[in-house]
Amino acid sequence: MKKEYENDMTRRKFLKGAGIASASLALGGCGVGEELFQSDSFDEFFQSHFTEMSPEEIKKVRTRLQKQYKKKYGREFVLGTEPAYPNVLFAYGLDISRCIGCRRCVYACVQENNTSRRPQIQWIRVLRFKKGTLNFEESDHYYEAGMNPQEGYYYVPMQCQQCENSPCEKVCPTKATWKEPDGIVVIDYNWCVGCRYCIASCPYWARRFNYAEPEIPTEELNPNTHYLGNRPRMRGVVEKCTFCIQRVRKGRYPACVEACPVGARKFGNILDPESEISLVLKNQRVFRLKEDLNTQTKFYYFFSI
């Protein structure tokens, strides 16, 4: 996409200019325009798809968003746009034997990723199964979580599986969601039109929609963000787990991995034979969920005991 952007840029610049001019003439005051276009500025409304932005445009978008967040939340935001490291493909390992269903990962994710508190959005959902079955229909999503796993049950946390053959990328009509070279399926929140086709297509129910304007108390905001990850979203767009892209592209672990008190979560670069995840894949009896759907997920489950 990047190599074609120059032609598209001239075309788009012209249309953008014409659009801005006519829109400005038509609407006069920016208050009405912002309401009508559901956008904080005309620049935001007419910005391009993230993968088609030139480095200058990305810089402009970054500055604009930082100013926007400062104005809205009163805090200085770090808005990263780090691309994928070369020779990196992230994968996840989840040790079901160890998971006690305490849900600390759920809340660490909420804290890290600036998900809405009202209405409450959680990217991770922990399912409690009775021992002996993996029938989702029989699972309990709303069990009482504690530090002691309940007898006769086991827990399966679920989040975006970052499929190699992802249905959500296939169905998105605007290419607002796509797979990055390091394997993370991302969303350009300024490009998503909110049709929710991707939510219907996801076999793991990993995606969430902002039906209302997300509300986060300013003191709970995480200002270390990535454009494609945990930056504050707006109403009307889809969001999901991004393997904490703002962390992993800086050499850190996702928040859920760090939060897990029993070490059930493993993460790393599958292309590095020495990484923890490679050792897991080599030595553990790993499986993936709904493998018959050929989604080729990067989320491997196993029972270490």
Binding site: R11, R12, L15, L36, F37, Q38, S39, F45, H49, E52, P119, R125, L127, N135, F136, E137, E138, S139, H141, M158, P167, K170, V171, C172, P173, T174, K175, A176, W191, C192, V193, G194, C195, R196, Y197, I199, A200, S201, C202, P203, Y204, W205, R207, R208, F209, N210, Y211, A212, E213, R235, G236, V237, V238, K290, L293, N294
Partner: protein, 432 residues
Amino acid sequence: MRKVFHFFYQVIQKLLIGPPIYYAWVLFLLTLIGIGLWAYGYQFREGLAITGMTDQVSWGLYIGNFTYLVGIAAAAVLLIIPAYIYDFGPIKEITILGEVLAISALLMCMLFVTLDLGHPARIWHLFPFIGTPNFPVSLLTWDILVVNGYLFINIGISTYLLAMIYLGKKETKWLYMPLVLASIPWAVAIHTVTAYLYNALGARPFWNTAILAPRFLASAFCSGPSLSIIIFQLIRKFTKFKVKDAALFKIAEMVCIAMGINFLLLGAEVFKELYTDTWHKAPIVYLFAGLHGYSGLVKWTWLALSFNLLGFLLFLIPATRKNFISLNLACILIVVGVWFEKGMGFILPGFVPTPLGEIYEYWPKMMEVLISVGVWGIGLLFYTLALKIVIPIETGDMRVLGASPVSATEHEFLKSSSRNKKLVTQSSIRSV
């Protein structure tokens, strides 16, 4: 130039002057639209949170109505096939009316889809050149393409033919016949592509069934023509346009066959799920019997099924098909029954249970209903106003400046071959 002004004068005259029932109907529709717009303003300010949709059931009343209306639009072609391919005279006259119905339905489709979006203002992201449409991979982009294409085909055919009648000119067959012929596979395409939207999702076994597209077509060919039969009788009653009984009965025969096929496919679905008895049967069980204590759709499912069955029987038996009371009852039953079967009874079970086995029972909220009713109001108003111009043109009342009113049946395209000539010349048009 004078002729153009005269045309606009005639249009305004036709739109503003009518019998009392016209004013009452338009006022009623404007009220519905007004309420819908007010409710939409609320949705625009607060977001889709005012609807009953959640992450578990992320599509609801809007998309249900959209799916149903694509079927209505596709069914206009049912009138074209006999009219032009089988040269059945009585139907040729009403083909334009069917096309205008299709245009109205497509208008409603586009409205429903747009107001279901989280960011309707960003819709330009879907357009080629200025946006990044995920064509040809995403079925949604195909749907936009075929729906708009079908819209333009219908607008093209109807405006060309109407212009020719209006101007008193002979129409050039090679100008409109290719469009007419193209519209037949295109109508099949719009509904097949819409079916494929759902069919494509491996995550939703209720939709991921091979019979989905055929079933969509079968139910479309029941609901659209049934609605047309009612509409044509209303037109016959309130305007000078004479629709022949033979045309209505021919359409009724086709509805009967389509409903028969629909039941066949339903039976195939039910057999496959219940006999094989895998976990995938959950949505069908939810519809017909309730699942894990959730039975919100059960009575509606059985009601819709009975409506469809009774309608089918009334259409099947010649005595009841040719009796206008039972025929109209059957039409209403089918229109309502298929609305549920293809709308709520199709969209909701796709989300029950979720891919993670959860059950959430969606029910539309008041604002959602008001907005949907408003959109139907817009479509019906458009259809009414369009007919208010189309019918006088077709009956010969509205002609270009300088021409005298003539019988519309003098026009070539309305003439059938000699074997049907008797039926054609029997039409009577009351004078002004």
